[in-house]
């Protein structure tokens, strides 16, 4: 990098060539005030507060946008500059509703600070105070409001919405003195604003603010950095607390979200303040759950579990760990089940989302996690998104994808049966028939081979099994694939070419790939595609399964799976087992345990009698709910640890009140393998306790004593038995966290996997043939049903449905039905429809939309009162035991006139 010399305020400095005056001065410690400038945004240069004198220039120059030139002479504080700066701020104040006394932004307001710094009191101001009639505040959005009287037209919100979020919803309207920011034709709620609040966070004044005032001045609240409790992105949040209540959430400007959040991250955490939180243990007495003491509850569990184990053996007990609680707690939970109870019957909801990823990628690469990091996506030249409705399920990652497309010119290929929002940004959209993924991926590979776009060098040096694999690929010509998948052959060819020839191509996938009876096959196909083209092992490439829940990656990592100990070490391998027997001081079962759906079946058949559920809600989340209910009802003894009385907890014999994510220390591991810290923001309500404390007491009572002083101590133990976490200790996580593998205390963590060699040595091609889904539409059930998530709610809704703003956005369930189908069946948009499958039937509202193809139906599964999982199929992938949640056959009927 070249440097040049400039003179600032009479002194020479050597600065970076190409910098602006503002940047160059900043780098040598000279402060130039700014308002419309923000480091995350492109430069607008409109407020002029940063104006400086440059020798030889006719007018004052805005420092934020003026590039330096060699030997430039700059004056940053001359009388002319200071007078102009005062005038500008004075002018802004004159057009501003200076209601600082009652403004939420007071204390954080940049205009207020600027006025203070310049000493612009009323007596020294030249302009009379704004006496314009105050305009109306637009508070039509469920989460935010815009007060034009406080807007200084800096356009930071416009740029943030467009450049950071990639949405471009906010625009300037009118001209001149009347310029305002606006979203929507008449009001904010007419727009596609989804309430991420990026604009609020970036607004320098109180013009854009939370709709519900926190009622707290910023200096009265305490700020604690922690990790978001919703999805697997792992956004870092600053939680503002006063008097033991969470009052405000802002995005922290660090990896992976750099200040951004989604609507749930910013506005969806008020559930921690909910009056419905569990505050005492409950024990079932004469069929009724009654409040109990901790001693009574723990004692009851110990006695009943001991009885079951004595009578039926340890395998009659099972535990469901949780993708919602910390690594430390999941580790202790599986340790309690394995070493304390003596069975490997421990699993969690990862079974329902990425079991096939863990199985498939472990087989192909040797490691079942997202290969690359979130930030790398921004610079990928091609991004292939399939089976991931990223804008709704991983909103902050979707912003990275959109930036890659909008700001850096990446090509986006979306392969999805639905016209998801990312299609708006896509170069190509391939609409496959649900469940035809193996076919279209094989077809793409067929094109890549036949057009000689494969990476022969990579295949030869880095992989094995290529010849076997080729035999299958040959049969999948684009024309044959078109018959199976309905994707036009030429589109498939185009997609293959773009993906194969881009300098860096990254695949993003999620449940649309994994939740099939061919889930593992689908994942293997994804792996094949990446290896065939060598699009792996480099920055901005890779195979990137987006993990759903905040800690689903971590729960898997620390062994909450029936076949592996922490760090994916096989329970069936003697040497491994011996290591853990030594570490945990108990003999361990060599037999892999039951998976989630197998546990449900085993309960029904009486093979499992006692079940401990930590922070899961299978009564909404699992397929074929009628069957789940029957199974849970037949359990001899059911324990639920949770923060709310969920649909599952009401069935329990003992319910234990747990601390939420905001009430404890610990770690989550996000989708990019980054171990991130949770900090205690609030005290737990009532008698609620952290899960790890509960487990310690429970395990001790059941005869396997556990004692730890802190979550940090537990992580030290995890590190000692888990090679991929070998260097992970809380004290190292204070900054950006650590990405595993991190084998020792000096290892910096791993940004992307499989750099020079795959975890398993050579990458293994798997020949994968196409088979149809388990249940396809037929005459009786002619529609193809798919389920999934929406932005405004999370999973079973136990948290998000207790947040008013989120309920305002999405008050209840619905079924997306193609308008042509709706018309044919006499269904009206917003009216009621009965959706039935071979397993159950629900009534819900019709949403007539072309997002779904004709003949297809999509239902979000968050809503217990119209639970999509009453309809879904619990047929399993034979390898990963993941149920086929994404494909089922159903029928539609107009429902009664119930209101």
């Amino acid at each position: 990098m070249h440097s040049v010399t400039i003179n600032v305020d009479g002194k020479d400095y050597t600065v970076r060539e190409g910098a602006t005056i503002h940047e160059a001065c900043g780098e040598v410690g000279i402060h130039i005030p700014v308002l419309c400038y923000h480091p995350r945004l492109k430069i607008a240069g409109n407020c002029r507060v940063c104006c400086v004198e440059v020798e030889g220039c006719r007018t004052l120059m805005p420092a934020c946008v003026t590039p330096i030139t060699p030997n430039m002479v700059v004056r940053t504080g001359s009388p002319k500059v200071m007078q102009a700066r005062k005038t500008i701020v004075d002018l802004l104040l004159a057009a501003h509703n200076c209601d600082c006394l009652v403004c939420d932004a007071a204390g954080a307001c940049e205009l207020q600070k600027m006025a203070y710094d310049l000493g612009l009191d009323r007596r020294s101001r030249a302009f009379y105070v704004c006496d314009d009639e105050l305009p109306e505040v637009d508070s039509s959005s469920p989460v935010l409001q815009y007060d034009p009287s406080k807007c200084i037209q800096c356009t930071r919100c416009i740029r943030a919405c467009g450049e950071i979020q990639g949405k471009g919803i906010i625009a300037a309207v009118h001209r001149s003195y009347q310029v305002e920011m606006a979203a929507g034709i008449h009001q904010w709620s007419d727009s596609r604003c989804d309430g991420c609040g990026e604009c609020i966070q970036i607004c320098p004044t109180g013009a854009l603010s939370e709709k519900v005032s926190s009622g707290v001045r910023i200096w009265e609240a305490e700020k604690v950095r922690t990790s978001c409790a919703y999805c697997g992105v792992g956004c870092q949040l600053d939680m503002w607390v006063r008097d033991g209540r969470l009052v405000k959430v802002t995005g922290a400007d660090v990896v992976p979200n750099f200040g951004s959040t989604c609507v749930k991250g910013r506005f969806g955490h008020t559930f921690v303040n909910s009056e419905e939180r569990l505050k005492t243990p409950f024990v079932r007495l004469n069929g009724v759950l009654v409040e109990a003491t901790w001693e009574e509850a723990i004692g009851e569990i110990a006695t009943r579990m001991a009885k079951i184990r004595d009578e039926h053996g340890p395998d009659a007990i099972a535990g469901l760990a949780s993708a919602r609680v910390s690594n430390e707690e999941n580790y202790l939970f599986q340790k309690m089940i394995r070493a304390g109870v003596g069975t490997n019957n421990v699993d969690h909801c990862a079974r329902l989302c990425h079991a096939s990823t863990v199985a498939g990628l472990a087989a192909a690469f040797g490691s079942g996690a997202m290969t690359n990091s979130i930030a790398e996506l921004e610079h990928a030249k091609c991004i292939l998104v399939t089976g991931s409705n990223t804008t709704e399920t991983h909103p902050v990652i979707a912003t990275v994808i959109r930036r890659a497309v909008r700001e850096h010119g990446a090509k986006l290929i979306v392969v999805d049966p639905r016209r998801i929002d990312l299609v708006d940004n896509a170069t190509l959209w391939l609409r496959q028939r649900n469940g035809s993924d193996v076919a279209w991926m094989n077809g793409m590979m067929n094109v890549i081979v036949s057009e000689n776009l494969l990476n022969r060098e990579f295949i030869a040096e880095r992989t094995e099994g290529f010849d076997e694999f080729m035999k299958v690929i040959e049969r999948f010509t684009p024309e044959r694939v078109e018959e199976i998948s309905t994707i036009p052959a030429d589109l498939l060819r185009e997609a293959a070419r773009i993906y194969a020839t881009a300098e860096s191509s990254s695949i993003i996938y999620s449940m649309g790939i994994t939740q099939h009876i061919t889930g593992t096959d689908n994942v293997l196909s994804v792996a094949n595609l990446a290896m065939l083209t060598g699009q792996i092992g480099r920055p901005s490439t890779g195979v990137n399964p987006l993990r759903g829940q905040n800690n689903v990656q971590g729960a898997c990592d620390v062994g909450a799976l029936p076949n592996v100990y922490p760090g994916y070490q096989q329970v069936a391998v003697d040497a491994v087992r011996e290591k853990f027997e030594k570490a945990w001081g108990r003999p361990l079962s060599p037999k892999p345990g039951l998976t989630v759906v197998e546990m449900v079946n085993a309960l029904e058949h009486g093979k499992v009698k006692g079940l401990i559920i930590m922070g899961e809600n299978p009564m909404v989340s699992d397929p074929n709910l009628s069957h789940v209910e029957k199974s849970l009802d037949s359990a001899e003894f059911l324990v639920v640890m949770d923060i709310f009385m969920t649909e599952t907890a009401v069935k329990a014999d003992v319910v234990l009140p747990a601390a939420s994510f905001a009430e404890k220390e610990g770690t989550f591991t996000n989708t990019e393998r980054r171990v991130i810290l949770l900090r205690e923001v609030l005290p737990p309500p009532g008698q609620a306790r952290t899960d790890w404390e509960i487990i310690c007491d429970l395990s001790t009572a059941m005869g396997y004593p556990m004692h730890y002083n802190s979550a940090s101590d537990i992580m030290d133990e995890i590190a000692s038995v888990t090679p991929i976490y070998g260097g992970v200790h809380h004290k190292r996580l204070q900054g950006d966290g650590l990405q595993w593998p991190c084998p020792d205390a000096n290892h910096p963590g791993t940004v992307y996997l499989h750099k020079d060699k795959f975890s398993r040595g050579k990458g293994l091609f798997h020949p994968v043939d196409f088979i149809h889904p388990d249940e396809m539409p037929d005459e009786e059930y002619p529609f193809l049903l798919s389920t999934g998530r929406i932005l405004f709610h999370y999973h079973t809704g136990s948290m998000s449905r207790r947040v008013d703003a989120l309920n305002e956005y999405a008050p209840g369930g619905y079924a997306e039905i193609h308008p042509a189908d709706a018309e044919r069946l006499g269904l009206v948009d917003g009216g009621l429809v009965r959706v039935s499958s071979r397993r159950g039937s629900i009534e819900t509202r019709v949403m007539a939309t072309e997002r779904v193809a004709e003949g297809s139906v999509f239902i979000p599964f968050h809503f217990a009162e119209a639970a999509a999982n009453l309809l879904t199929n619990d047929a399993l992938d034979p390898k990963a035991k993941i149920p086929e949640l994404k494909v089922a056959a159903c029928k539609l009927e107009k429902a009664g006139s119930r209101r």
């Binding site: 946008v65 102009a84 030249a126 001149s176 310029v179």
Partner: protein
């Protein structure tokens, strides 16, 4: 055969030329009929020209009936405004000009490519095809042509920047977003001679290596848009495009889109707001590609220069400002219209020689040059030559050619308020100074003209005005206070009269004037009472009238109506 031409520019059509040409078309005779552009004599529209052999006669204020009689051979001398034998009531209006850019306006049929070619059209382009880009640029440099949009940047140098900019895709833009109140030069050029602009663009495209171009034209100029599209299609059919694709993009009525960076954003489909330079358009302009942007009149000069040579061009105008300039004369001048004169011609020649002096022979007070961004030049500086050096020395700017003439009844404070009101309305709202600062200036002027001025207002206007000029991003903000600063410079006494004496010396600001009846001279004829729209004048025939000051709206109808000058305005 005789040829009849009707001026069917927008000005002609709005004066009734449509009916004239329709009448002639419906009654065909022994003549050829054609429309033509505006010849500039807007003050006597509709115009009908008769060409008989070598003789040419132009009649003004022609009605359909009159047109038919002229067509059948009549020669109504009262309506003859110009003829090539020196007759005509306004012959000097044209004779005192030097029509280079306007050479074809009002002469040829703008929809006819053959007409254009017959005048030597597209010869310059053919010549340019034989030259290297460097040679074309050298001609432009040697000619000394400077941008006619108002800033006067040397055109040859501008082209050389875009030509040498790195990158394959380059754009050529014609700025036809003529927005100054009272300016209509570009509209008339396009309407009267669209091919000259297109040919100039083709030559520029060859010089800089651009394959694509836009003409950004106001949507309020539908006829100009139609003529341009027609001309582009014709030029393409005849093989003159040579791979250069021109498109007309209509502006949506924002004045600021005449600023080139805002213009680019508008073409790109974004909100038309100026952006900071650098990067300059020659490096990163439209769609971030190297771009050359010139004004309509500049392009129209280009073919003439190429064909007639640098020397011929430099014979006109001054050393530093060669060539001619088209002005739109408007305001209190007798002969409002388009006039083209050599650079360096004194303002007075335009106002009196061509414009025929002030309406009703009132006293000439000042001209506003350069529209709302320009400034006022008072009568005592009326001998200032119009060129890029002399005009800025007065505090005004050349601008694109709008020249609004003011007489003794024009209040200079009110004129400043009028122009500032315009710029305030048209500010894009980006920069604080322009968005809020100009508004504060306007509010102050409004107070002064309403009789609520304060002592400190004048220094306030001067200080803030200079700061706005110093701190704004684009030409709009940087020039918006000019009307205030120049009127303060030359007519400070009027401001002081408004503020200190609460009087408007020009008798124009309603809040500061009062109409009363002079009982000495009132003949009690009731004409004033009849003229008053609000019945503020009382008194019967034979009874001296009086005006109820509470009812009076200061409209001045009584003043105009009184045949005895018995109404006093003070």
């Amino acid at each position: 055969m005789r040829k009849l031409l009707v001026g069917t520019g927008t000005c002609g059509l709005s004066a009734g030329a449509g009916k004239v040409i329709e009448a002639l078309r419906n009654n065909p005779g022994e003549y050829e009929l054609s429309g033509t552009g505006c010849i500039g004599m807007c003050f006597v529209e509709p115009l009908l020209e008769v060409r008989d052999g070598d003789s040419r006669r132009i009649y003004g204020e022609v009605t359909p009936e009159l047109a038919l009689s002229i067509a059948s051979g009549a020669d109504p001398v009262d309506n003859l405004v110009w003829s090539d034998d020196g007759r005509g009531s306004h012959a000097d209006f044209l004779e005192k000009q030097d029509r280079l850019v306007l050479r074809n306006c009002g002469v040829i049929n703008p929809d006819s490519m053959d007409d254009y070619i017959a005048t030597g059209g597209y010869e310059a382009l053919r010549m340019a095809w034989e030259m290297t880009p460097g040679e074309i640029i050298q001609i432009m440099k040697d000619s000394g042509l400077r941008g006619r949009g108002g800033a006067g940047f040397p055109t040859g140098m501008k082209w050389s920047f875009a030509a040498s900019a790195a990158g394959e895709d380059k754009y050529i833009i014609c700025n036809a977003d003529e927005g100054d109140p009272g300016a209509f030069m570009d509209r008339s050029i396009i309407e009267g001679d669209p091919h000259a602009v297109i040919e100039g663009m083709f030559i520029a495209a060859r010089a800089i290596g651009a394959a694509n171009g836009y003409i950004y034209c106001r949507a309020e100029y539908p006829l100009a848009v139609k003529r341009l599209e027609n001309a582009i299609a014709q030029a393409g059919e005849r093989g003159f495009a040579q791979g250069v694709h021109l498109k007309v993009k209509m502006g949506a009525g924002a004045f600021v889109c005449g600023e080139e960076t805002a213009l680019f954003r508008s073409i790109e489909g974004k909100r038309g707001m100026p952006t900071f330079r650098p990067p300059y358009p020659a490096e990163k302009g439209l769609f971030a590609k190297p771009t050359n942007n010139n004004n309509v009149e500049t392009y129209a000069c280009v073919p003439w220069i190429v064909r007639n040579g640098v020397k011929a061009f430099r014979e006109r105008g001054t050393e530093k400002s060669p060539g001619t300039k088209v002005f739109a004369l408007a305001g209190k001048v007798k002969r409002g219209g388009l006039a083209e004169v050599a650079m360096g011609t004194p303002i007075r020649h335009l106002v009196f020689g061509i414009g025929g002096g002030i309406k009703k022979d009132k006293a000439f007070k000042a001209v506003q040059m350069g529209g709302p961004s320009g400034g006022c030049i008072p009568e005592h500086l009326a001998d200032t030559p119009v060129d890029f050096e002399s005009i800025p020395a007065t505090g005004a700017i050349m601008g694109s050619g709008g020249m609004v003439v003011m007489d003794e009844t024009s209040c200079m404070v009110d004129i400043a308020r009028f122009f500032l009101n315009f710029t305030c309305d048209e500010s894009c709202g980006k920069c604080t100074f322009c968005r809020v600062g100009n508004r504060r200036l306007l509010e102050t002027l409004e107070r002064i003209t309403a009789g609520e001025g304060r002592e400190e207002d004048i220094p306030f206007l001067e200080t803030l005005g200079r700061q706005i000029i110093d701190g704004s991003l684009c030409g709009l903000g940087q020039t918006a206070p000019n009307p205030i600063l120049t009127t303060l410079r030359y007519f400070r006494n009027e401001y002081e009269a408004h503020i200190q004496e609460k009087k408007c010396p020009a008798g124009s600001c309603r809040a500061l004037i009062k109409f009363t009846v002079n009982p000495e001279t009132c003949k009690a004829c009731t004409l004033c009472a009849k003229a008053c729209p609000v019945n503020a004048v009382s008194g019967q025939r034979g009874q001296v009238h009086s005006i109820d000051q509470h009812k009076c709206t200061k409209c001045g109808a009584c003043y105009d109506a009184c045949p005895f000058d018995a109404i006093i305005r003070e």
